[in-house]
């Protein structure tokens, strides 16, 4: 029994094979192709040919891909989206697509309608749905839109209007027509949730070609029995059917896989992970093996959203970071010699002083020709080291939630520049196979379900509310392909709402289970 995991990164597409005990059987790297698809096929072919395993014994295939992110950034292959907002007359002061980049609105056709509907904060009716109004709208939009985003005021408290509108669209346009409901995608904050829902709706064509392409590539290699999954950005997997409904959740799955893979290799579940590349470093926090979620609005392709995203920060420090002195002040980065490090760094015979040269001078690493950096004043090198240390310490401080020391897992090609002691860090763990941590992260994933709603404990006691939310999250997990018996509660977040007279609480629960 084998699992195959593929992760598409900015530079390389990695493929790995794990056995039933999660041991790494083989791994390959090949350059990420412009169309992404070709790179996936090349890596897949290479890892299968080189490992020479019995292909019929592959039971699971997982793909972590950037196709959806690229489609948004490059504004390509996006569907024409109609936006239906339920809430009129409320919310008319800020219409859908406000503050969007103009080229993006043009690509998505810019169709929207503000119709009657919506709820108040406590679940009372704000406005009744007007089905005649909706039917007229759908007649008007026939052939104008390829996908519809539905957003109701306070739909996270009561979702029945959004569901009714979805049914209505299916009645008029047919069962197959892609519809995205906002209560399943974002949290409270109408504009940000609406934006995330529109993006999700716009990705319906991209996710179709991505998933079909992956399945076909597997079939061409003789893998026909495997369960196929896509990685989502919380470090769990989704079935193909689920992915087609929520393509936006694939965004940022790469960094998530990388930090999860690193913690798996280091066998630490609660830690900070520092992934040092050539130009930048990513820092993420793992809680019980899952990345912490960002609590602030996140911009995707210049659009402000609030769907679930991992809380990962990127800093301009890597192995190729350029070291300079300006009026006695030492700076490191944020610019870098990047992929040209093999020619431009001093240790490789180049003319640019980089963070790697300093590491070699101080004896922290032995790469290139160390005699080429012997002339660097040791005191100066040490000062550069102090600067590197302070950049890392400040970034880690931003990710910590308390002043207690934490452990750090260190991965990535540029990790040699990181000193052995960092203040605020109790111990640093370096891992082997760190180079393919992302593909390992992709193949160890489980399946999750999540639910969020505002509950009023005075009306529905806390215990009952928690149970209700958990049941709904389990339903989501099962839909995504989890085995019901293995599902467990991993996260409960309660946020009391200020100003609310009845002790209202925003409750969010997350469950995780094994895949079939």
């Amino acid at each position: 029994m084998y699992k195959i995991g593929i992760d598409v990164g900015g530079t390389n597409t990695d493929a790995i094979i794990l056995d039933e005990n999660r041991n790494l059987v083989h791994s390959v790297k090949s350059p990420t192709s412009l169309d992404i698809k070709t790179g996936i096929e090349t890596s897949l072919k290479a890892v299968l040919n080189e490992s020479n395993i019995d292909r019929t014994k592959i039971t699971h295939a997982m793909l972590g891909t950037t196709q959806c992110t690229n489609a948004i950034v490059e504004r390509k292959k996006l569907a024409r989206v109609g936006v239906i907002r339920l809430g009129y007359p409320a919310t008319a002061s800020v219409l859908p697509y406000t503050a969007w980049p103009e080229d993006m609105v043009e690509k998505l056709s810019g169709n929207y309608a503000l119709v009657h509907g919506g709820y108040e904060y406590d679940g009372q009716l704000l406005g009744e749905l007007d089905e005649a109004e909706l039917k007229t709208l759908l007649t008007e939009w026939q052939d104008k839109v390829e996908s519809i985003a539905i957003v109701g005021v306070f739909s996270s408290i009561k979702n029945d209007q959004e569901l009714r509108v979805r049914d209505l669209i299916h009645e008029v346009y047919g069962e197959e027509f892609p519809v995205s409901c906002s209560f399943l995608i974002g949290s409270v904050g109408l504009i940000e949730r609406e934006n995330a829902t529109i993006l999700n709706a716009a990705l319906c064509k991209v996710i179709e070609t991505t998933t079909e392409g992956f399945i076909r590539a597997l079939e061409e290699e003789g893998i026909t029995n495997a369960e196929v999954f896509l990685c989502q950005n919380d470090g769990t997997l989704m079935s193909i059917d689920y992915a087609k409904q929520f393509p936006i959740l694939t965004i940022a799955c790469g960094p998530t896989n990388s930090i999860r893979g690193a913690s798996y290799l280091a066998q630490i579940k609660n830690t900070i992970v520092l992934d040092v590349g050539g130009t930048t470093s990513d820092i993420g926090v793992l809680q019980d093996g899952f990345p912490r979620e960002s609590s602030v609005a996140v911009e995707v392709g210049g659009i402000r959203t609030n769907f679930r995203m991992p809380d990962i920060i990127s800093i301009g420090l890597g192995g190729g970071s350029i070291v300079r002195t300006d009026h006695g002040k030492i700076t490191v980065g944020p610019d870098s010699v990047g992929y040209k490090i093999g020619q431009e760094a001093l240790v490789f015979g180049g003319n640019t002083l980089t963070a790697t040269d300093i590491a070699v001078r101080l004896g922290m690493a032995d790469i290139g020709d160390k005699s080429l950096v012997a002339h660097i004043d040791e005191e100066f090198a040490q000062k550069v080291q102090v600067e590197i240390c302070s950049i890392i310490e400040q970034a880690i401080e931003k990710m910590k939630t308390s002043s207690e020391d934490v452990s750090l897992v260190l991965v990535g090609g540029g990790s040699i520049i990181v000193p052995n002691a960092i203040s605020g860090i109790s111990n640093i763990v370096k891992t082997e196979n760190g180079g393919v941590a992302n593909a390992i992260g992709a193949s160890i994933s489980q399946i999750s379900g999540q639910y969020e709603q505002i509950y009023i404990y005075a009306k529905e006691p806390r215990e009952k509310s928690l149970k209700d939310a958990e049941e709904k999250a389990v339903k989501q997990a099962v839909l995504a392909g989890a085995v019901p018996d293995t599902i467990e509660l991993v996260e409960v977040e309660e946020t009391p709402l200020a100003y609310h007279p009845e002790n209202a609480t925003r409750l969010r629960v997350k469950v995780v289970g094994k895949m079939e």
Partner: protein
């Protein structure tokens, strides 16, 4: 008179968040409302108080309720059309000559811009606080004995209520109940004023000041140090502390966010520490256990690098900030002002001492 365009609104939003001293909620939705309204109706005319007639009649516009509801259910936009007509009729006035903000900070610096654009009314460059405060009577008009009522309250559905109350405590009670029934977020208009009263009792040039502050903070040309110097100059302020947030304790009581944060010194203030107490807004700052600024003087937290204002909701461990102190408008610095918004009113056992003197004292101690 001058026009406010998109750029001006972006800057006012930043500047008002700075003067909001941590309170007022996320100004993002307010900014979108203001930008949308001028896109539809054209730029807004801003008049200084010197340009208005004494006997003309002005009504402010503000949002009351929960910021957490506002981000989900925001106004239709033209709610004030009817309210202004009703209130004018009630008061026996022919026309409304303009509108103005009640406070600087969060969404309430933006609502009057929406109203001015919708109704094609002049916006007057003054407010009733020169900063943000949490309660209805905490305005300079109250100090001069101007009544908060008749007050109008409305929602996006078209409901309108007009209150006439026996005192401002009742105004707060009745308005709060109506706000909850309207969906925890309502639009209000209180302290109707004449041009003469605005000249006499308002805090002047507050919108222009907000805009200037926003301009400095958002300017990309200079580095943080130069920007800060320029900023301190125009607000006559002091940089009180450079620090990192190491602890935030919050408590929600009676519809307010109470709390305290501890800061550990960095750079110029290494080895020192500071405590800042807040109730929606920042109210008292203690450096190394001695008080260095207290309400009504302004205590503003800004990001260490970008100088962007940090709201109370955005406080978190590890954030590097600069604490800036500003003298309050002179209108607050008298017996009735201190009684209304001084440290004792908020439950802090300090006699009010102006920031200028506190800063001197600390400097002397250090020498």
């Amino acid at each position: 008179m001058r026009y406010l365009d998109e750029k001006a609104i972006e800057n006012i939003a930043i500047g008002a968040a700075f003067l909001g001293t941590g309170g007022g909620g996320d100004p993002y939705i307010g900014k979108l409302m203001a930008l949308s309204s001028i896109k539809q109706n054209g730029p807004v005319r801003l008049y200084s108080v010197d340009e208005i007639e004494d006997e003309d009649f002005f009504i402010p516009a503000a949002m009351m309720g929960a910021p957490s509801v506002l981000v989900e259910k925001f106004p239709k936009g033209d709610e004030f059309v009817k309210v202004f007509q009703k209130l004018a009729k009630y008061l026996g006035k022919e026309t409304i000559a303009g509108t103005y903000p009640m406070e600087a900070g969060g969404v309430n610096s933006m609502i009057p811009i929406v109203v001015a654009a919708q109704l094609n009314l002049p916006l007057i460059d003054c407010d009733g606080m020169g900063r943000a405060f949490p309660e209805l009577q905490m305005v300079t008009f109250h100090l001069d004995g101007i009544s908060a009522t008749p007050m109008a309250i409305t929602d996006e559905k078209g409901n309108i209520g007009i209150f006439e109350t026996i005192d401002n405590k009742w105004t707060e009670r009745l308005a709060r109940t109506a706000t909850v029934e309207m969906g925890a977020s309502a639009l209000v208009s209180l302290y109707p004023t004449t041009g003469a009263q605005l000249k006499q009792s308002g805090v002047h040039h507050i919108i222009t000041l907000s805009e200037k502050i926003g301009e400095i903070i958002s300017s990309k040309a200079k580095d943080a140090k130069d920007k800060l110097q320029e900023l301190l100059k125009i607000v006559s302020g002091y940089e009180l502390f450079q620090g990192k947030i190491v602890d935030v304790i919050r408590e929600t009581k009676g519809g307010f966010n109470f709390g305290k944060m501890n800061l550990e010194g960095i750079e110029a203030n290494k080895t020192e520490h500071m405590k800042v107490y807040f109730q929606n807004e920042n109210l008292v700052a203690e450096k190394n256990d001695s008080v260095v600024a207290m309400t009504p003087d302004l205590i503003c937290l800004v990001d260490y690098e970008t100088l962007l204002p940090v709201t109370t909701e955005a406080l978190k461990y590890g954030k590097r900030v600069r604490v800036v102190g500003l003298p309050a408008n002179e209108k607050w610095r008298n017996e009735k002002g201190i009684e209304t918004v001084g440290p004792k009113y908020f439950g802090y056992d300090y006699d009010y001492v102006p920031i200028e003197e506190l800063v001197k004292k600390v400097v002397v101690e250090h020498v």
